[in-house]
Symmetry: C2
Subunit: 360 residues, 2 copies
């Protein structure tokens, strides 16, 4: 095996090598049982134990309250954009949204199909370079919920403190779940696609307060009702067994590292290395406002698009892969999820400093 | 590695060992590129090549006409039960259904939420032990389509010839796709969950005639419109990359074996071994009527439930795993999908004969 590259992809993203190596064994021969993991019936005793352990670890590491169901669904965060209002809005019901980027906008678009929408705040005019402070917006009294995206991958912004509202919060945590501890109590529903901090693409984890399960309209398709999946322990139909299994492995790795407090510190340290490099330079400019900076996705620009292209090309050649920014921001983006090694951040910092010396 | 068991699971089901071994390598280090398959961005050049190859192989092996789109979706066949009528029915529009088992019934239930339904035939009174002949039903002239399930896993029935109707056909081929060649021309839409003959759970392949893409109501959620996925080459959001990759490996294996004609012959031969054993015995009784017998799932009963339990227990101890029938039929079920080895069928036949001698 050649040297492993440093994978700055925004998602699917880097996973711990020990997780990949364990998965490689179990794919051919799960637990030495003479059957591959992906060949096992989802209703077999062995697979049910896998799913139960994954759920138990999620509950333990995240401190999920007992009155929340944990669901393993499919369709990505994008299907949740519709499922949330399909289940919780309806004629005359309103959802409040904080528009902090493309993924929030897409959620707003879907919500408008199924109810009223209040866009309580938008940072679109400044190309989503910040998330709002509590004092920046007011949620309508008659809104059912306040929806926000905790971390905005494309722009590199992240809520440092979560919004406070009299309504329950609903959050798309796809790109920073498991990166830091948080308190579930103000939330009604939290969801996250697995493919950044949790595992492979193909599974979306939904945490939903049990009392919300009965709100869905009767004429909603069976597969789109949260209650369908809650009542069947996510086995109403065949769940994405491989993704659930890998999520379990990632959670074991995370627990061994010390859990979310330890992870948050590692993430803070990695991000600080990059932000300090940006702040110490007049060559690199961060896209996100300082108070909104993400620990997961660090976005920055160079003096010209030509230098940005050159930077990405040279970095790639050195095994620093996936640094090209999203087209809507341009420039560069370093996605440094939980499993991204500090050593790779150090190598990027050294490369940035060296590139600046050669080109400024 | 201990001896590999013979896995008669109805799904997720057995996969070729060489596929599992290749997946094990690529999960840690894809193509020696220093990055694992499941860590790769779905928009990377390398993953797009994987998805393109999987689609090209599906088109080649199945002879998919140029005017069909091939989509890699999530949510299983169960989400298709709703997506089909959500996209193709609506107020005043009717779908005709052949009710040949639980999966057809579930599709009928969803269709009733979004349009009118004609149940043109049902075999429920005989516990779904057969599928209808063409002369057994008449489809209403004003139906938009005729929907059927080509193979009914639970009951072990399969259409030997597909229905003919003036309407386009829509088919759930989850449990026998790629088991035999067929002509796409009477079809408007074909879908199949991957986890029986194609790969791991977590991906549903949809083949849809292009002219149908514009029929969806405007107020349908973005993720539930087929056109969304067709326009984005199944990359509107992050697709289930691992499942798409494994499907590609399975298709390469299938092509090497000689494609669908060769596969159909192997499947016929394997099934015949079991049906001959059943027919030569008064101890075993097949559930499916002779003309409706499936090559994929062979269902049979023993003289008493006690003997059935004993049979399953002893078989399991000999490495013949997953033979317990579905609770709605009882008895035993041998699922022998494409990747199930003939050697395992021979071992089961020998065990059946020996068990009969000891217990009759």
């Amino acid at each position: 095996m050649p040297e492993r590259i440093f994978n700055f992809s925004a998602g699917p993203g880097v996973l711990p090598v020990e997780v990949l190596e364990q998965a490689a064994k179990d794919i051919v021969n799960f637990n030495n049982k003479g059957i591959g993991l992906i060949e096992m019936s989802h209703r077999s005793k062995d697979f049910i134990a896998v799913a139960d352990e994954t759920e138990a670890l999620l509950r333990e590491l995240l401190g999920v309250p007992k009155n929340f169901k944990v669901l393993f669904l499919q369709g990505g965060a994008s299907l949740q954009f519709a499922m949330v209002p399909m289940n919780l809005l309806g004629p005359g019901k309103k959802g409040a949204y904080l528009n902090t980027g493309v993924w929030a906008k897409k959620a707003i678009k879907e919500a408008k199909l199924f109810g009223e929408v209040q866009v309580a705040y938008t940072s679109e005019a400044s190309n989503f370079n910040h998330v709002p402070a509590q004092s920046d917006y007011k949620v309508d009294d008659d809104a059912e919920y306040l929806y926000f995206v905790s971390n905005n991958t494309i722009y590199g912004t992240q809520f440092q403190a979560f919004p406070a509202a009299k309504q329950m919060l609903i959050c798309d945590m796809s790109s920073d779940i498991l990166s830091r501890p948080f308190d579930f109590s103000p939330f009604g529903l939290v969801f996250a696609g697995a493919q950044k901090n949790m595992g492979p693409a193909g599974c979306t984890v939904v945490f939903i307060r049990e009392d919300l399960l009965d709100r869905s309209p009767a004429n909603l398709a069976t597969m789109l009702k949260y209650k369908t999946h809650a009542d069947a322990d996510s086995m109403f139909n065949t769940p994405p067994t491989f993704a659930i299994y890998v999520i379990g492995l990632v959670l074991k790795w995370l627990k061994k590292l010390g859990g979310l407090e330890a992870m948050a510190k590692l993430n803070r340290d990695k991000a600080d290395l990059l932000y300090q490099t940006i702040d110490a330079s007049s060559f690199y400019r961060g896209h996100a406002q300082v108070g909104s900076r993400s620990t997961m996705n660090i976005t920055f620009n160079l003096p010209t698009p030509e230098l940005e292209a050159q930077f990405v090309k040279e970095a790639t050649a050195q095994g620093l892969d996936g640094l090209k920014g999203h087209r809507s921001v341009g420039g560069c983006r370093a996605s440094i999820y939980n499993a991204f090694p500090r050593q790779g951040v150090e190598k990027l910092v050294a490369f940035m400093q060296e590139f600046e010396r050669r080109n400024s």
